[in-house]
């Protein structure tokens, strides 16, 4: 590889990028829009569900149970009732989303180990339902043998104890993942389109007729995007800390190292797409083939463990899945990058495979 030629390709690419207003706007705009959307508007974890309570026992233990439930922040007391029927009515009218019934024989049930309370939920919204299921996990601190098992819910509710995010603030979980989503969306698209655009405009025919090598051309073209990817990471992270008070438990250098791995993985994938796509439109379509499964299967939107095995296999191939494990580990749990080495390795292998395939498939010929 000739450094002068490589430098010339990089300089050319940066100059073109600087004049490409639409792309520049996307570099800043996509992270901002997604961050604000996911941070404020799309709230997958609920807080402040209006609740009604019918505490027919009214003992100190029953009141403590209700207070524990309120303390989670998931529910907000809206009405106090005396009978379960009142709650059912309020539920039907939509006045409350959730009702808690504590029967008069609460103490007796508690000692017998029977169900002590019932959580009634407006099941038409699955997100609300899952919030109720979690609420049903609130333990009774004074009675270790007793269990609050709701009558209307599954007898074995999935135990989702929000250990690192006790306040159930979604931004804490979403923002680190959003770095990955944004890098996946922009990095793959930018590189895929950057090369196909040259082919469409006829620049490629000129370039391949010069002594510039395949590696010089490809590395030179994607190198400026590495810088852009790191800028985007900084933007999302900065806004996340500033607007949503996301705590960064791990080391910043590990965060950037993880981001760098994902950037390189996505750039190599973009290069591979660019060798196959005939037009910019096709490159965009191919990008979407990767982007949609990444969003849906990586664990960004839905928990990974809940997916069927086939979906999990697909997810294991996607760089975003591994990045999410890395970034959540580093930012939320304070893990070091190398403690999470299996995902680092997976990303490294992905980069090596995609980059080799891209260089092999890129011919300095027109046929």
């Amino acid at each position: 590889m000739n450094l002068r030629r490589l430098g010339a390709v990089m300089l050319k690419e940066s100059r073109q990028l600087r004049r490409d207003r639409v792309t520049l706007a996307m570099i800043i705009g996509i992270p901002m829009i997604l961050l604000l959307l996911f941070g404020y508007a799309i709230n997958l974890k609920l807080r402040g569900l209006s609740a009604g309570v019918a505490d027919q026992a009214n003992t100190s233990a029953s009141r403590a149970l209700v207070m524990d439930m309120m303390a989670t922040g998931v529910i907000a007391p809206k009405m106090a009732a005396t009978t379960p029927q009142e709650l059912t009515q309020a539920l039907r009218r939509g006045q409350i989303s959730l009702g808690i019934v504590i029967p008069p024989d609460f103490e007796a049930r508690r000692f017998d180990g029977r169900d002590v309370a019932q959580v009634m939920v407006d099941g038409s919204d699955t997100v609300v339902q899952s919030a109720a299921m979690q609420l049903a996990q609130v333990p009774l601190d004074t009675a270790p043998i007793a269990n609050t098992r709701p009558l209307e819910l599954s007898p074995n509710p999935i135990s989702v104890v929000s250990f690192y995010n006790p306040e159930r603030r979604s931004a804490v979980n979403i923002v680190p993942g959003l770095i990955g989503v944004i890098l996946t969306m922009t990095m793959v698209l930018f590189t895929a389109v950057a090369i196909v655009r040259e082919r469409e405009r006829g620049n490629m025919e000129l370039l391949i007729a010069t002594p510039v090598s395949r590696a010089e051309l490809m590395v030179g073209k994607v190198a400026p995007y590495v810088v852009i990817g790191l800028l985007q990471t900084t933007l999302v992270l900065g806004l996340g800390v500033w607007l949503f008070r996301v705590p960064i438990a791990g080391r910043l250098i590990d965060v950037y190292a993880a981001a760098m791995l994902l950037i390189l993985a996505n750039l190599s994938l973009g290069l591979l797409i660019s060798t196959r796509a005939k037009s910019q439109f096709q490159a965009m379509q191919m990008t979407f083939f990767v982007f949609l499964p990444s969003i849906l299967l990586s664990g960004f939107m839905f928990p990974f463990s809940g997916m069927p095995p086939a979906a999990q296999w697909i997810a294991e191939v996607l760089p975003l899945t591994h990045f999410l494990r890395l970034i959540r580990g580093i930012v939320l749990r304070g893990a070091a990058l190398m403690e999470l080495w299996p995902d680092v390795l997976a990303l490294a292998v992905f980069i090596a495979v995609m980059l080799s395939a891209a260089v092999l498939l890129f011919h300095k010929r027109l046929d």
Partner: protein, 320 residues
């Protein structure tokens, strides 16, 4: 024989039986070509005749389906990488970067072509002046006029002082005056000892070439100097004047000895398959009830083109 190295240093391009197929379509069909040093060699042919495909194969950008190619003594496509250092290629479509300035484009090409920093700086200055861009250095290439774009593309193609230049229809989107200036530049380059292979579909450009190859449907249908090619048609071109040109033309088109008829001003220009006697044609027109005056006239390159391809004159009739 075909694989032997061409020892004559004056032969720059030697192609034997070069064929290129795209699926069922034969874009270039068993073309033989010999181009000598310091010539301006023209490729004349209608659109889709295989000119671009042939040029791309000679540059090593397309693999030939059959045949052997030697350019500057190098076997193509095997030694295409070595060839890239020694040739310049100007694509049919403007292929410099429209979102880079004039100077930025040249600087990029200089670096990519392997010129050292100092050498590149000197060469770019030189070309900016020589190609008349001194006061437009910062202008984005996309905002240049058609003629300026072609001039810039040529400057880019010669930045590393190649021995051989391939130019694929360099003047297709350029006004006549810029075209003449452009061709003057090409001859300056030939005078410096460079060899140029230029494709075109303009007769007046083809006429200026030292030597000419005519392509039609991928086949080489004519090869020689313009004068040689024209001389072959001596006695086969006639000028017909008649009162009713339309009827005269119908009668001539139906005649078996006529290869092509076209209306030029108030007369018809007729090309025959073999040497034709004007008297006989006049008599046969007279027999058909058309009084006409038929005279032999000097052939030109357009007649050569019609004789070789046998169709463009008719196409010309469709759109006067």
């Amino acid at each position: 024989m075909n694989d032997g190295v061409v020892n004559d240093p004056n032969i720059v391009i030697d192609a034997r039986g070069v064929t290129r197929r795209f699926g069922d379509l034969v874009a270039v069909d068993a073309v033989n070509l010999t181009v000598r040093r310091a010539q301006v060699y023209g490729f004349l042919g209608p659109n889709g005749s295989g000119k671009s495909t042939m040029i791309r194969m000679l540059c090593g950008l397309l693999l030939p389906s059959a045949g052997s190619i030697q350019v500057l003594g190098l076997h193509i496509p095997a030694q295409a990488d070595a060839l890239r250092l020694r040739v310049g290629y100007m694509t049919q479509k403007f292929s410099l970067f429209e979102d880079l300035g004039v100077r930025e484009n040249l600087e990029f090409l200089a670096a990519v072509q392997g010129l050292s920093r100092r050498e590149a700086a000197r060469r770019v200055e030189e070309l900016l002046i020589e190609y008349d861009f001194a006061d437009r250095q910062k202008q984005l290439a996309g905002t240049l006029s058609g003629g300026q774009k072609q001039r810039l593309a040529l400057a880019g193609a010669v930045i590393h002082r190649p021995e051989l230049l391939f130019l694929d229809e360099p003047t297709s989107a350029v006004d006549p005056e810029s075209r003449r200036d452009f061709w003057d530049k090409l001859f300056d380059l030939a005078d410096e000892g460079k060899t140029l292979l230029v494709s075109t579909h303009y007769m007046e450009e083809a006429e200026r070439c030292h030597r000419l190859a005519i392509l039609d449907h991928g086949r080489l249908v004519g090869d020689g100097t313009p004068a040689e090619l024209i001389a072959k048609l001596d006695g086969r071109t006639l000028r017909v004047q008649a009162a009713d040109l339309r009827r005269a033309r119908e009668a001539l088109s139906a005649a078996p000895e006529v290869a092509g008829v076209a209306q030029i001003g108030t007369a018809l220009r007729v090309l025959t398959h073999t040497q034709a006697s004007p008297q006989r044609l006049q008599t046969s027109l007279h027999d058909a009830g058309i009084s006409a005056d038929v005279q032999t006239t000097t052939p030109n390159l357009e007649d050569v083109f019609v004789a070789a391809t046998g169709r463009s004159r008719r196409a010309g009739e469709m759109s006067p």
